[in-house]
Point group: C2
C-alpha cells in the first residue's frame, strides 16, 4: 500500500497528456492529492497547490508520486535532486515508469538512509498463489473490451464513484500501473508470471460482504492476439457477477494489429459470458460503455441509442453521461 496523501510530481511535463497519471489521481482520488510539484518548463497543471518538498512534508504527504511520463526513458538529473530531497524529507516515492527507481543507485542509497520505500508499481512484490477457483463471497464487476484502451479503467472508476455516491459499498481494484498509482494498491497483472495470473486476480478480489462490489479494472481484450491471455485470467480469476462491455466506435483496427478488425459487441458479449460462466454460472452482461470522445454530441447520442436498441442493454458513455445507468443495472 502506497502511503497517502500524495504530492503529485509533474516534473517538466511537455503537455497535459504527459501528466495523465497525475490527472487520474486528481480525478478519482482527489482526497489523496495534497499538492503538486512542477519544474521549470512544466506545461501541465492539476489546479492543486504548488508545494516545495518541505511544504509537502509539513502537510503530511506520505508519498511523492511520479505523475508524468518522462522523456527518453531516463530519470533526469533535475528529477533526481527533487526525488532525493523528498526521501530525505520522509516521503516514499512511487512510480509506474518503465525504468525503475530501484535501478537508480542514488535513490536506493537515499531510501535506505532515510528508511523510506521506493514503489515501482510495474514490478510485482507479492508471491501470488495459483488460482483455486473457489467461489468467493461478495460481488464483482469486470469491464471487458472489444479492444485494448477503449475505456475499461475509466468505466470501472466512474462506476465506483457513482456507487459510493449512492451509498453502496464498492472498491475499484487496480490491475495496471496507472490504476495502482491512483488507488495506492493493486496487481500489475501484465508483469505477473503466467501461472499466477488468475491467482493474482483472486488475491486482489477476496471474500467480502455480501453486498460489497469489486470493480475490477480490465486489461487487454479476449480478441487481442497479443494480450488475450491476460484478459482470460481476469475473467476466470475475477469470477465476475456482472460484465460491462466496452467499445470505441471509431477504431478501425485492433490497437497495434493493423490487419485485425474489431469484434462485434455481440461476439464480445457471447464469448466473454460463456467463459465467465465457467467460474460463475450466474454471471450476466449488464450494460455497455462506449467511449464517444471522437464523436460530436448528436452523433454520440445517436450511436448510443442505436447500440442500446440493438443489444437491449443500457448503453452510456460514462464520461459524458455518468455511470448511473450502468450501476442501476447491477443486481
Amino acid at each position: 500500500m502506497i502511503p497517502h496523501p500524495y504530492l503529485l510530481f509533474l516534473g517538466d511535463a511537455p503537455d497535459p497528456l504527459a501528466a495523465k497519471v497525475a490527472q487520474g489521481i486528481k480525478d478519482w482520488r482527489p482526497d489523496a492529492a495534497a499538492g503538486q510539484f512542477r519544474l521549470p518548463g512544466c506545461n501541465a497543471d492539476m489546479g492543486l497547490r504548488d508545494m516545495t518538498i518541505a511544504e509537502a512534508a509539513k502537510a503530511g504527504c506520505g508519498t511523492l508520486v511520479i505523475g508524468v511520463a518522462n522523456r527518453g526513458g531516463v530519470i533526469s538529473a533535475e528529477w533526481m535532486d527533487v526525488l532525493e530531497e523528498a526521501l530525505a524529507a520522509g516521503m516514499d516515492i512511487a512510480s509506474g515508469l518503465h525504468n525503475l527507481l530501484r535501478d537508480e543507485p542514488r535513490l536506493v542509497a537515499a531510501a535506505e538512509k532515510h528508511g523510506r520505500t521506493l514503489h515501482d508499481v510495474r514490478v510485482p512484490v507479492v508471491d501470488y498463489p495459483i488460482a483455486n477457483g473457489v467461489k468467493r463471497s461478495g460481488k464483482r464487476c469486470l469491464a471487458v473490451g472489444t479492444d485494448c484502451s477503449v475505456g475499461k479503467m475509466y468505466t470501472a472508476m466512474a462506476m465506483e464513484k457513482e456507487m459510493r455516491a449512492q451509498g453502496m459499498d464498492a472498491t475499484f481494484r487496480a490491475t495496471g500501473q496507472t490504476g495502482i498509482l491512483i488507488t495506492g494498491d493493486g496487481v500489475p497483472l501484465d508483469a505477473v508470471i503466467a501461472d499466477f495470473m488468475a491467482g493474482a486476480v483472486e488475491w486482489l478480489t477476496p471474500d467480502n460482504a455480501a453486498d460489497h462490489w469489486d470493480l475490477i479494472e480490465g486489461q487487454g481484450s479476449l480478441f487481442h492476439a497479443s494480450y488475450s491471455g491476460v484478459t482470460m485470467a481476469l475473467v476466470h480469476g475475477g469470477q465476475p457477477d456482472a460484465l460491462i462491455l466496452c467499445h470505441e466506435p471509431t477504431r478501425t483496427h485492433m490497437r497495434g494489429l493493423p490487419t485485425y478488425d474489431l469484434p462485434t459487441l455481440e461476439d464480445l458479449r457471447d464469448t466473454a459470458l460463456h467463459l465467465a460462466r465457467r467460474v460463475n454460472p450466474d454471471c450476466k452482461v449488464v450494460g455497455i460503455s462506449i467511449n464517444t470522445a471522437a464523436l460530436g454530441e448528436d452523433e454520440a447520442n445517436a450511436y448510443l441509442a442505436e447500440v442500446e436498441e440493438r443489444m437491449g442493454l443500457p448503453t452510456v458513455d460514462p464520461f459524458r453521461h455518468g455511470a448511473a445507468r450502468l450501476v442501476n443495472a447491477l443486481d
Copy 2:
C-alpha cells in the same frame, strides 16, 4: 539449445515413475539418449548402457540431463559429486527441477571453471517479444484439452513421430519443462511474464516451409480456472491451422479444482475453434485424442467409437493405436 547426445541421470529414483523425464527422452528422442547413470538404490532403468561420467564423456555426451524428480526438493550431496564430475568432464547439465542448478554455488563455480552451461529449463532465458499476430508461413497443429494433464504432450509427440515416419516435415515445439528436456529446446510458457506469453509462442513457431508442420505442445485448458490464460496465449500465439481435442474420460472433476466439472468435447470444440479463428480464419478441428489408460481394451474401443460417431471426427488413443488417423486428418 541443450547439446545432444544426453547422459540420462536417473539418480536414486525410488520407482520408474520418478524418472518420467528420462523415459520421455528415451521414448521420443532415442537417438539423443546415449546412456544412463544410476546411483545405488535406483529403481528405474531405461534399458540404456550404464556409463560412468568418464565413459559418457568419451562417448561424446554433451549434456547430463537430470531425468528424475528428486526427493524433498533438495539436490543431495550424492548427486552433487556426480554433477560436478560431469561439468569437469566437459558436459553441460540440464534440469527441470523446481530448485535451480544456478542456486547451487558448487555447481556454479564448477560450470564457470570448466566453461560449461547450467540449463534450468523452468526459467526463461530469452526476452520474448510482444505478439504481433502477423500470419506466418507453414502449418501449425495445437492440442487443446478438456482439462490439464489429459495427454496433450503425448499426442503432439506421437503425431510428430508418425509424420516423420510418413516422410512429412514436422517439429514438436515444447512449451513445458519435460518437453524442453526431451527435445533440447522450447519455451517454459508457464514461467513467462504475462505480457509476453503469446509473443513467446510466436517466437517458438516462426515462419517455415509451406508444407512444414509445427506440433505445438498444449498447456492447461481454456476451461481450467487456474491456467486458462496460458492456454489462451497458445491459441492466439500459435495461430493453429488444426486443433486436436484431448480428453481423459474417467476424470470426475478438473485437476486440482474439485468443484469444477469437465466441459463437454462439443464445448471445447466450439470454444477453442471460435477463439483460434480470430488469428487464423482457416483453423479446423481435425481429430480427437482420448487417453484411455484407465479403460480396458473393449471399453476403450467402445468409448472411442461412441465419441467418433457423436463428434464426426477421427477419434483415437495414440498410445494404443498410433497417431496415423490424426495425421491423416491434417490437410
